[in-house]
Symmetry: C2
Subunit: 282 residues, 2 copies
């Protein structure tokens, strides 16, 4: 991995990195914060929302003070492959900047849009190989990245100690953003979609082990009640209903007055880092 730039922040080191990804077949960018000291440190992966690169979270979330205090590495990848040879769409909610954390099966997206494999495979391996990690990790994200965090944790529970989200797309099979992206990336067959829908995964028992026990004791979700995407796109009530049905622990906090911006995330990111640090160190 090539270090594009590096900053000291809250006593630790923040690097913007770039590497050629074998998974996406493109260069991929990310940021990695490593606390001061020798470690090893557990890893917390952040997945961003539509239109974002790794930079939005890195500059705006204010997460590194808590990460330094708890001794946690934070990794924030870009939201999709990018570049001239990569398929794209003029809309903000499809193509570059809108990878939706799935492996696309449809043309023209399939060759490069493989964000599920990238995050759960190559990214984790690279981080564990190049930084002083405990080889344990958790995952969180915002909006499209909240969907990504929830679905990747539910589909790969062996990889993650805990999962949380800010304003996640709770059920992409039942909202315009998800319907559009899944049609493009996964095709018309809705049985394929259901495998990447957090509410449906929870309802189907994905958060339970072979003995029927919870894999994740609790899932923390913060949602602003002044979020303009709340009722049409995010629908956290579908997540609550699924969790109740499946007996999954879910702490959904409706935050009065908060919107969909990074000001909302900055207000509660300390709680999320603490939530994960507790479980990463248990």
């Amino acid at each position: 991995m090539e270090t594009v730039k590096s900053h000291v922040v809250h006593g630790g080191t923040l690097r913007y990195l770039k590497h050629d990804s074998a998974t996406t077949g493109t260069p991929m960018t990310l940021s990695v914060f490593v606390p001061a000291g020798e470690g090893p440190f557990p890893v917390l992966i952040w997945l961003s929302g539509l239109t974002c690169t790794e930079d939005n979270f890195t500059t705006k979330a204010g997460a590194y003070k808590a990460a330094a205090e708890h001794g946690v590495i934070i990794v924030a990848p870009d939201t999709s492959p990018r570049g001239e040879g990569v398929a794209d769409d003029a809309a903000y909610d499809l193509g570059q900047g809108a990878g939706f954390y799935v492996d696309a099966t449809q043309a023209p997206w399939a060759p490069h849009f493989r964000m599920e494999s990238y995050v759960t495979g190559e990214l984790i391996e690279l981080i564990d190989a190049q930084f002083p990690t405990t080889k344990t990790r958790s995952i969180f994200g915002h909006s499209m990245g909240g969907h990504g965090a929830l679905t990747l944790a539910l589909r790969h529970p062996e990889l993650f100690k805990s999962v949380s989200a800010f304003a996640p797309i709770s059920s992409p099979t039942r909202c315009p953003w998800g319907e559009k992206a899944f049609t493009a990336y996964l095709g018309e067959d809705r049985t394929q979609w259901a495998k990447h829908d957090a509410a449906l995964l929870i309802e189907g028992g994905a958060a339970q082990d072979a003995d029927g026990n919870r894999v994740f004791d609790d899932i923390l979700v913060d949602q602003g009640d002044a979020d303009t995407f709340l009722t049409d796109q995010l629908k956290p009530d579908l997540l609550t209903a699924a969790a109740q049905k499946a007996g999954q622990g879910l702490t959904l906090r409706m935050q009065p007055g908060y919107d969909h911006s990074y000001f909302f995330m900055a207000s509660f990111v300390d709680d999320h880092v603490a939530f994960h640090a507790k479980r990463l160190k248990a």
Copy 2:
């Protein structure tokens, strides 16, 4: 003032505002964070550096958690007048985005570039008129804005309870950024420049009242030792020497490894807010 947008953050309200300034003869933009509750609250004014608008500090500094905790309003104005009828320069360090917190006396800058009068007059009056303030305030800033905070506090000590800075231009009469800007805005007469040079103002006793007592018990300055502008432009040693000569309290903290970015400011902004809150509430 027109509210351009508004966000809830850390329980308070952050507004991006726009108003037609009688001082600059242009629209001016700013952000204002008001903590939850009725107030009244003391005010902390932030002045940004070269190329910045009000948005850099607002989104990147992470100051509002501390402001909410201490019950302090934070006001961040733009760094210059802007717009089509306003003089500009192709360089990043002159013209729009580079107002240097002086009232320009030279063509073509004099009609609009009146940032000293704007900040110390119209801005303060507007904030006190439109928000629940205690009508007391302090000031801090970064780089060009650190110069602005120091010089405006030293030139108008009756307006401010305290002053601090991150990586300030300590002596603009003795660095390329300052020499260029002061030549353009104030002309060739260096006696005019000296009135806007923090180190020279301190040396000349500007921080003392008529009885020779300190107006500001202490001035807090943080400076990263990996800041690429440290030796050529910022020169905090000139500030230290002036403070020693004049018997001015100055706490200059050289922060190892830190650079000139907002990651540096985010790492220490809580200390600055606490420094001012203590003095605003004394």
